[in-house]
């Protein structure tokens, strides 16, 4: 199973499941990352972390540690 952390910039994936719970999980979902949502990985920050993604038509940044909680395919 791949997580969002492993996706290279330029690829588009869709969300399969979440691993986290509580505030982080809710925050991700509130920001529009729900099951089936398409995510386009735009870039990685100059120092290698966090990453920038496009989701539901806007730009969002999240840390790789957080992206690891999102299973994609």
């Amino acid at each position: 199973m791949k997580t969002l952390k492993e996706i290279n910039p330029g690829e588009t994936v869709s969300v399969l499941a979440f691993n986290g719970t509580g505030a982080l999980r809710r925050r991700l979902m509130d920001m529009g990352i729900t099951k089936g949502t398409k995510i386009f990985v735009r870039k990685v920050a100059p120092l290698g972390d966090p990453i920038e993604i496009t989701v539901r038509g806007y730009e969002l940044s999240l840390r790789k540690g957080e992206a690891e909680n999102i299973e994609v395919g």
Partner: protein, 711 residues
């Protein structure tokens, strides 16, 4: 009874612009009770009886962030008469997510469909009539930045408030979920306000702790609720919170499909800017250039000139001379003259001297924030700063701190996360500011004339202290715990509205002058009194003043630091007023008539310290709490006395310990002192510091177990 209208919406949706547009200059800025989230209120232009409250920008009414809880509490407990919900037309899907929650509150809602100017320009089409009809509320198209539609939205809200017309309920969720929600509403209809049945039904279904807590359900009621929730969770294979969120977004996706015609084309201007601004190779140089420009303008050149002018010319010459002349014409007593000229004008002048610097700095910060670059600062710098419990945005306060700690602390306002902000406030003044460089310069040139490395070493020591403190403090219960999710929107770049930037800049500077000003005024008068009067309440020279008496009384405190004489003690006290005055005070105490004659001052200082004692004196004054203005600002920005005490207490302990360790161990290394109790304590302190740095955290995040490990 005035009509209360709340402004609610996502961050970056133009809410502040709309608020400024609606209220003009009648704004009151404060904090929400008990928290340091900014609260803004104002009267609607032309309607004296309408109060507009600007709620914090939130993405959701979930119970997890401070801003969300503040917004929720206001909407639920304060009963606003209507809500204007700002929706960014360029980002419909995510913005409408909050809307679906707001519509459940049982309060009249007007949607202000904002940024329509940009939407139209991009060629997209939004059918706002269809949108309003589907959501069951009024929609007004606005372009707050141009003032278009703002008043219309406010007037619609007033009309709705008068008619108490709440949004028509819409079945947003799937059949099974809707059935469960009505089941919950029916089962608990006796305890829930009928107007808000929908809101409560959803919150109970989500098992929202902040809602469940005050209801104090009996175990029977809890079981009842669970029996309603569990079957559907099983059916969906998800928890109830996830089910609701998924269904909200599914509903919105369908709605947006119906109402939005996208004119799809290539990259927007914002995308093009971002490609360069956060580019792998260009991001850091661009960042460095912007920071340099901001620092150079607000701290070294323009800001410095303006501040020096206020300090030296305006207050130092014009007002002082004017007041002296005026006082002597009316034949005022000497003490009154002293109080007004030295105490009040001197003290208040110091505070106001910061204002030009502050204005320029805040102008830049507002530009960075309103243009969207600030979010990129966090994006670029996060990797470095989160390692020691700070935010990527902490870079700016720390940088500003090398100029002056006061605007540095104020600059921490841009950090949303409360823990990060507190930590930044506490640590950014460890960078030697320009006033402290006066101390460094004097001590270094007197005692270590050949050691050119001392000044740069102090900056590196400042950086080291910030990093090590961050690592150590993050492990304490106060700063530890779950790392805040860094799930942050990168808003599109736009050209900031000058009016908004100016209002922003003015508000922040004014807040500083009012709060810091009152504390400093009191402190100045007090210090002036102590240094000009003896215990018999007669005016005396500083050597026989009460301050000198206090210096004698507390000199023993500084003995372990290597300068246990009263002059050092008095200089340290007066350094709290303004760091650079430590040197001036030493000059006066050593009987140097002209403190500007560096050679005499150096001789004077050389006679009272050993080299090690002087070094330790310098360390103490660099790393103990900053001057009174910065402490007053800390108090203002922390917003409560407990956190102010923690911050200043930490600075006291740290500054003292560093000077103590250096003096105790230094006396063995350089002066051949024997190893005694002091040295043992110094080693113990060092060991303690190392322990605090390497021990495991006292609070392990359980919720973020996985995320925590990855970081």
């Amino acid at each position: 009874m005035p009509t209360k209208i709340a402004l609610a919406g996502n961050p970056n949706c133009g809410k502040t612009t709309l608020f400024n547009d609606l209220t003009g200059s009648s704004q009151y800025v404060g904090n929400w009770p008990g928290v340091t989230v900014e609260k803004k209120e104002g009267r609607l232009k032309g309607h004296k009886d309408v109060i507009i409250t600007d709620l914090p920008g939130v993405y959701s009414l979930s119970p997890y962030t401070l801003e969300e809880v503040v917004s929720r509490n206001y909407l639920i407990n304060e009963h606003p008469d209507a809500i204007i919900n700002l929706v960014d037309g360029t980002n419909l899907e995510r913005n409408l997510y909050l809307t679906t929650q707001i519509l459940e509150l049982g309060i009249p809602v007007v949607i202000s469909l904002n940024m329509m100017d940009i939407v139209k320009k991009s060629g997209d089409r939004i059918d706002s009539l269809k949108l309003g009809a589907s959501l069951g509320c009024e929609v007004v198209e606005t372009a707050a930045i141009k003032g278009e539609g703002s008043l219309e939205a406010a007037e619609k809200a007033i009309a709705l408030a008068k008619g108490k017309q709440t949004p028509a309920p819409q079945g947003k969720f799937s059949k099974q979920v809707e059935e469960t929600l009505s089941g919950i509403a029916k089962a608990f209809k006796d305890i829930l306000e009928p107007q808000r049945a929908r809101w409560y039904a959803v919150k109970l279904f989500e098992r929202d702790e902040k809602v469940l807590g005050p209801l104090q359900f009996s175990s029977e009621q809890k079981n009842k609720l669970e029996s309603l929730i569990l079957p559907i969770e099983e059916e969906y294979g998800d928890d109830s919170e996830t089910i609701i969120t998924n269904e909200r977004y599914e509903y919105i996706a369908q709605l947006v499909n119906k109402c939005l015609r996208k004119n799809s084309k290539g990259m927007s201007v914002s995308d093009k800017i971002d490609r360069i601004a956060t580019n792998r190779f260009l991001a850091l140089p661009i960042f460095a250039a912007i920071m340099f420009l901001m620092y150079y303008t607000s701290v070294t050149t323009l800001g410095r000139i303006a501040t020096d002018w206020v300090n030296d010319t305006l207050f130092g010459t014009w007002i002082t001379n004017g007041a002296t002349a005026a006082l002597s014409t009316v034949g005022a007593a000497d003490w009154l003259n002293g109080l007004i000229v030295n105490g009040i004008i001197g003290g208040v002048g110091t505070v106001l001297g910061f204002v030009p610097q502050m204005l320029i700095l805040f102008f830049f910060l507002s530009l960075l924030e309103d243009s969207g670059y600030m979010a990129r600062v966090a994006f670029i710098m996060d990797r470095i700063f989160r390692k020691f419990g700070l935010s990527g945005k902490s870079f700016i306060p720390i940088l500003i701190g090398t100029g002056c700690g006061v605007p540095a602390i104020m600059a921490a306002r841009t950090i949303e996360n409360e823990k990060d902000r507190r930590m930044t406030i506490m640590l950014s003044t460890f960078m030697p500011c320009t006033a402290k460089t006066v101390i460094i310069a004097m001590i270094a040139s007197t005692f270590f004339p050949k050691s050119f490395w001392i000044a740069p070493a102090m900056y590196f020591l400042g950086i080291a202290i910030i990093i090590l403190s961050g690592i150590g403090l993050k492990k304490t219960a106060y700063f530890g715990g779950e790392p805040a999710p860094f799930v942050m929107e990168l808003p599109p770049y736009h050209i900031p509205a000058l009016k908004g930037v100016l209002i922003h800049m003015w508000e922040r500077s004014r807040a500083f002058v009012i709060k810091a000003g009152t504390i400093i005024f009191t402190a100045c008068v007090l210090i002036w009194f102590l240094s000009s009067f003896g215990w018999t309440l007669k005016m005396v020279d500083i050597e026989s003043s009460m301050l000198a008496g206090i210096g004698h009384a507390i000199a023993w405190l500084f003995a372990p630091l290597g300068f246990g004489n009263w002059k050092g003690a008095v200089a340290t006290i007066s350094a709290l007023m303004a760091k650079e005055s430590a040197i001036g005070t030493l000059a006066v105490l050593n009987g140097v008539a002209d403190p500007n004659n560096t050679q005499f001052v150096m001789t004077g200082i050389a006679s009272m310290f050993t080299a090690l004692g002087a070094f330790s004196f310098m360390l103490l004054n660099l790393f103990d709490p900053p001057c009174i203005v910065a402490m007053a600002t800390t108090s203002r920005e922390m917003g409560n006395s407990k956190w102010t005490a923690i911050a200043i207490g930490y600075q006291v302990v740290l500054g003292y310990s560093i000077a103590f360790i250096v003096n105790q161990l230094g006396s063995v290394l350089f002066y051949g002192a024997s190893f005694g109790i002091g040295q043992s304590i110094a080693l113990l302190l060092l060991a303690l510091a190392v322990f605090l740095l390497i021990r495991p955290s006292s609070h392990r995040g359980t919720m973020f177990g996985r995320a925590g490990k990855a970081i």
